[in-house]
Amino acid sequence: MNFRIDRRDLLKASGALAVTLATPSILRAQGATVKVGVLEPLTGNLAYNGTQSAAGAKFAADKINAAGGIKSMNGAQIELVVVDAQSRPEVAASSVDTLAQAGVVAFTGATASALGLASSQAAAKYDLAQVFSIGTAENIVQRGLPNVFRFTPGVNKCTSVALENLKLLNEGAGNVVKTAAIVHEDGPFGSNMAKIMAAELPKQGIEVVETISHPTPHRDFSNIALRVKASKADILIPSNYINEYTLMARSLRQQRVELKAIYSILGGAASNIKFVRENQEVAQYVMDCNHWYDPNKEDSKALAAAASAAGLDLTYDVMVSYATVQVIADSLERSGSDDRKKMLEALAASTFDQSIMPYGPTKFVNGDNVNSRPVNTQIRGEKIELVFPKEFASAEPVFPIPAK
């Protein structure tokens, strides 16, 4: 994504400090637009995911605007207000003030749970809806905040779906997988996932022989690879971010770890096409249970085209942000107003089923979309194929990894 400042922007900006901060109403009097916030970490250590998400939101807004905007509001155009959470919770919280003052009707965000917790809490004071793109930690929806809408699945659902699918795969292959090693980052989603796995895998007849947590960033995966190798696990279940995943995949290969499958859960790299491109060999047959769109929908195809035209890798961040803006737009259609309270009501009553995600009709219970679900992807050749659930699948799963 390219940001350019032209002279007009600078001129406008010189007065902006006084204007936007002190007198919010001036900017709202512009007529046929409705403002939607995008709160993402565009700088700091989460910048990659934040920037991807912001791009996804922009693609969605462009698409909706091109299709005539919000029809119930006389074709009002969606104007995105993008703010940088700087990968810091306190900045995320104070950015909500900026969004509120700019007059957004709802916002999407915020990549990491720590940022989402802070922002949604701050937004609650304004009755301002936050539609979570990514926010896997379960405590996000456990605080009873009426302005929290998590469209995508949390860690619990991701893990349980991953378990179900793993069971199907393993049964289909004649239960070849008997032992598992878990490698996860030590943050909320990794730790929680590992806990659930350790409890549930034995019920499927898979013994967890090794659980290794590691910090982010982590510089060397040789030991982890060696421990996985020594554990003689049939399957490796990793859950970590792209940088660590890349290093881990390489180390596994270098240490000649023989695995029947790599089955990651919310693995930052296994469904990242960049990883596939740069690590062709080690990426083959890796499976991931993650957020992913339904590639067959028209909007999905349009998104893929838009992303490729912008020279952007189509990661799940782009997809979910696109979808959350769709959700917000649908609620706007129904509320027909830029009133925040009405927006909350509209979201709470949402049954939207036209998003690019392979979800059923939206239904928020305590802010959690009960009809969301993760899907399974598998890396095949130079592509990421969707293998589960069957109705959206673009390819048949290969499990276990065929012997060379």
Binding site: R4, I5, L21, D84, P89, D97, T98, Q101, A118
Partner: protein
Amino acid sequence: MKLQSAGQIALVVAACAYLLSVYLMSSPVWIGFTINALIVAIIALSWNITGGFGGMSSFGHAALYGTGAYASAILQVQFGVNAWIAFGFGIIAGAAMGGFIGALAFRYGLKGSYFALVTLAFAEVLRICASSFAITGGGSGLQLRLDPGVGTLQFPDRTVFYTILLVVVALVMLLTLLIKKSRFGAYLVAIRENEDAARALGIDTYKIKVQAMVISGAFGGLAGALYLQLFLFIDSTVVYGSAVSIEALIGPIIGGAGTVWGPLIGTLGLHLLSEGAKHLLPNAPGLNFVLYAIVLICAVRLLPRGLMGLAALFGTFNSRKDDDHA
């Protein structure tokens, strides 16, 4: 308080006017932004005790801040302790951590960059520990249950929280002033200026330095515990990260280290600068930091004694050209 020049008085009046104007403007952006700045100002005032008055530059004040936040959070989340008591323990824990680091570092006479690096390392060890053990919530961090009320020290009305913060900052500054005007404060300055001469005058420099770390730790713990009550969530990077340590020292140095008003004025100034940079370059995330950093470099060059030192040059009461500190 004795301010030496009209320039300094103008600066202080401007800061106070700004802080009060937040009430009048009823702008949520201003109030949110100023609340963040005030919390940073407290950790800056904490750094000012050791770094400003005592001349012991720490690069790891996050160790104190994080300890205050974690102590309070652990007591509330893991043991169900009342928020007020936990808050108090946060301050005590910060003080204890300060004393511990000081006692170890000063016993072996660590000074200058050695001391700076030891404090940096302490903060880093604590960060790693906090993300590794169950009691601290590991990598997931700790979250307080959302439960507004006086009893839980959670104030959803930000004007109330802002007022509380203003009072706390005023109290910390008052304590700073009392320290500055006390035997202890004079001893600290004496140690900063010439440790041997201080020893010769009967000052137990080791004891004074450790005491300074304890006080600084209490202020740092206070800042951390306040952060917790405001955002209700902490994790190891948020409160033990190097960003906290940097913010703790950058404000006092720019504002005027070893002065009562410098840390507050420096912190407010830097936050305004950062906010201004964000608004000047709204569509270029990252470039605002570049602008901020360039201004920071210029400030370092142009303000050898910080804003308070610069202000001292304007409208001096007596014609003598003195190099006083406020």
